[in-house]
């Protein structure tokens, strides 16, 4: 009995530990092992070679893909944080009626009930050379030539990302805002703070955890994405995810595995930097 009570916490943690071991650690370790294998056009050859990594880390393609991916990630992050914060702020502080608040919050999530592929594809007829936007602008004589960079460009990729992922910022930020004691806001106003000062000195610091969680979502989603980049850039630009996807489809699993491991490392480093600034556990 003593033995049992001594180790009870281990037993309690065991199911979760097992699941993580089986479905997270084991696959990642497999990927790590395969990343050292050799391959030809149709076979995997168990081996221990570092060629996959050597090629990956010396290839200019890798660097340009990482730069592109980081560019997408940061641009998307900045825009989603701005929009997400504003939307959450409006719902949390401007709407007094809690029923309307919930209603608006649900309204934010409605588009997310459809597949993200559909939400992405729907931009294409809108932004194309003969799309709705260009036709409207041409009809009203605002432009004489169709705007080419609306579709199959960095613009369209980031637009799609923002559209897809803003909700992932709105939800955690809204959640943090709802926990803020309203008396603090009143106190700030009573002390003579302007609306802007209240936001920067009171609300923003108290939403840090929400912003951090939102950033993690957006960052990891964008870093690993391949389908949005391919579809919205018309296949013209390549993110890291696109490279991995190309390698997989060409049966180059070891190269893809090496690429995945490097990407995993990069994302983990970025996350650990983020956690340095914000201690999520404490803020929750």
């Amino acid at each position: 009995m003593r033995f049992f009570s001594q180790y009870i916490s281990y037993f309690q943690a065991a199911p979760l530990a097992l699941i993580i071991l089986l479905f997270l650690l084991f696959p990642v370790l497999t990927i790590l092992v395969v990343s050292f294998w050799d391959y030809d056009s149709y076979r995997l050859i168990p081996d221990f070679i570092t060629e996959n990594y050597e090629f990956l880390l010396t290839s200019p393609v890798t660097y340009s893909a990482y730069l592109k991916t980081l560019f997408y990630a940061i641009a998307t992050l900045v825009i989603t944080l701005l929009i997400g914060f504003t939307v959450a702020y409006y719902i949390a502080f401007y709407i007094r009626n809690s029923f309307v608040q919930s209603l608006l919050f649900i309204a934010c999530t409605v588009p997310f009930l459809t597949s993200n592929i559909i939400r992405m594809i729907s931009w294409i007829p809108l932004l194309g050379r003969n799309g709705l936007v260009n036709s409207a602008l041409l009809e009203t004589h605002i432009i004489d030539e169709p705007i080419e960079w609306l579709l199959y460009s960095d613009f369209s990729v980031i637009l799609a990302f923002v559209h897809l992922y803003t909700l992932f910022v709105v939800v955690p930020v809204f959640n943090s805002m709802m926990r803020i004691d309203r008396n603090l806001v009143e106190a700030a106003i009573d002390s003579g703070a302007s609306a802007m000062q209240t936001i920067t000195h009171v609300i923003l610091p108290l939403c840090k955890s929400g912003l951090a969680i939102g950033s993690i979502f957006v960052m990891t989603l964008v870093m690993g994405d391949f389908i949005t980049v391919t579809m919205m850039s018309g296949g013209l630009s390549a993110s890291v995810g696109v490279l991995i996807r190309n390698e997989i489809s060409l049966l180059q699993y070891p190269a893809a595995a090496a690429n995945a491991i490097v990407l995993l490392g990069t994302v983990l480093i970025m996350l650990s930097v983020m956690f340095r600034f914000i201690n999520i556990k404490k803020e929750l």
Partner: protein
């Protein structure tokens, strides 16, 4: 968000891929449940009378799982096979890369592989398929000589690349070594092939297009596209570079590193100048690019041109002076097949060559591997239009009965012999494949 990207093969789509014009499943993983829909079809021997051949009766209700590219994975074929042979054919359509992947990595997941010859070169040596005994095929002698000795007519020249006959036979029943000359053991029985070229929008281009290099004309800056399937894209690129006079290849189907470097350099240069609007990977993407007017000249596949035209938009499959880039596919047997299932597979393959399927494919603008048998299943007008390249006397209908071309129309590129004799190279896989893929990735990421 990768998990959210729904893979239609997981969702049980009961969508029917029926016509090339509507066939969006070229690259999408469409799961076709033909057998289920046909469960009620009572097939007695009476249904078979009138058919020139009597098919084996003991194979009824055997299920064969076939997968391949959407090109020939047609529901109508499964239905007809059920009617004539009584076998249940379960079809799965994938893109070429996925097909190659599945053949090698999931050998027990299929009974019949419907693959292209260049994929065959890549996957057959992996040993997941078995060679076919040509003595068991009654229609073997009907197969076009193009697939036996590589010659359309006795005096025609063999094109560059992975010509089908070079990977069509192996030395023995158990060998994975391709034979130099026809043997008793065939890797794939050819089913379908065609000659590809550039598709253009004649309504948006007001000059004649005669060469592959025209796609690089600054006039079309930002209005061109090539396909982003490396093994095929590099061939189109080679046709373009050779036409530009920049490179002369010893063998476009098997380039040297220097040739690959130079080709990719030219592509990168064009990309940085904004020559390309987009790259496409799947059939429907190419249709959309063309019909929306984003692109006016691009690499294209024949049914994609038909699909654009069926929307009432002008589109031409432009024959070019340098010739076509050709491809061919066939069906082969999985290694694990034996006993009655193997008998059924042989019977099915023989049936495939017996004419009905050939006629069906001919009507979609492809070519059948056994032309003489398919002729019996086509009207004279159809045969003259599709194969002889003569003007249509009446309306030309798609296999589903939709009007594809009005009376008087002539097929782009002319007759079967004109088109297939000007093939410049076959789709292929190179010795420097790994290097080429890396360079191709470099081009896409540049």
């Amino acid at each position: 968000m990768k998990d959210d990207v729904k893979n239609p093969s997981e969702a049980t789509l009961s969508e029917t891929v029926s016509a090339p014009a509507e066939n969006k499943g070229m690259s999408r993983r469409t799961f076709i449940k033909a057998a289920g829909a046909l469960s009620g079809a009572a097939v007695g021997s009476g249904a078979i009378t009138g058919f020139p051949m009597i098919w084996a009766q003991n194979i009824k209700n055997i299920t064969l799982r076939q997968f391949g590219t959407g090109v020939s994975n047609l529901n109508a074929i499964a239905q007809k096979a059920k009617e004539d042979l009584g076998i249940n054919l379960e079809l799965t359509a994938l893109d070429s890369d996925a097909v190659a992947q599945r053949t090698v990595t999931q050998p027990r997941s299929f009974d019949i592989a419907d693959i292209e010859y260049w994929i065959c070169k890549k996957v057959f040596p992996a040993g997941t398929m078995q060679a076919m005994d040509t003595h068991r095929l009654k229609n073997f002698d009907k197969i076009a000589p193009l697939f036996i000795n590589g010659k359309l007519t006795p005096d025609s020249e063999i094109a560059q690349g992975t010509a089908p006959h070079t990977v069509g036979f192996v030395e023995s029943a158990s060998s994975t070594q391709f034979a130099d000359s026809p043997t008793r053991w065939m890797t794939l029985v050819p089913t379908i092939y065609n000659a590809d070229t550039l598709g253009i929008r004649p309504d948006l281009i007001n000059r004649p297009i005669t060469h592959w290099r025209d796609i690089m004309d600054p006039e079309f800056r930002g209005k061109t596209s090539i396909l982003n399937i490396p093994a095929i894209g590099i061939m189109d690129a080679a046709m373009i570079c050779e036409s530009m006079g920049e490179i002369t290849y010893a063998d476009k189907g098997n380039m040297t590193r220097a040739e690959i470097d130079k080709t990719i350099e030219i592509l990168k240069e064009a990309k940085s100048q904004g020559q390309f609007r987009a790259f496409w990977k799947s059939f429907d993407e190419s249709v959309n690019l063309m019909s929306s007017g984003e692109v006016v000249i691009q690499s294209m596949w024949s049914p994609a041109v038909a699909a654009v035209r069926s929307k009432g938009i002008e589109c031409r499959y432009q024959p070019l002076e340098e010739g076509y880039r050709s491809w061919g596919g066939g069906i082969g047997l999985a290694k694990h097949l034996s006993g009655i299932e193997l008998d059924a597979a042989y019977e099915y393959i023989d049936w495939y060559l017996s004419g009905w399927v050939g006629a069906y494919l001919n009507r979609q603008g492809y070519y059948s591997a056994a032309p003489s048998t398919s002729k019996q299943f086509m009207t004279a007008d159809e045969w003259n239009y599709w194969i002889e390249g003569k003007p249509a006397q009446g309306d030309i209908l798609s296999p589903e009965g939709k009007v594809m071309e009005k009376a008087g129309a002539v097929r782009d590129g002319g007759s079967y012999w004109e088109r297939m004799s000007s093939v410049a190279c076959w789709n292929s896989v190179m010795d420097e494949n790994k290097y080429m893929l890396r360079k191709w990735n470099e081009f896409i990421a540049s």
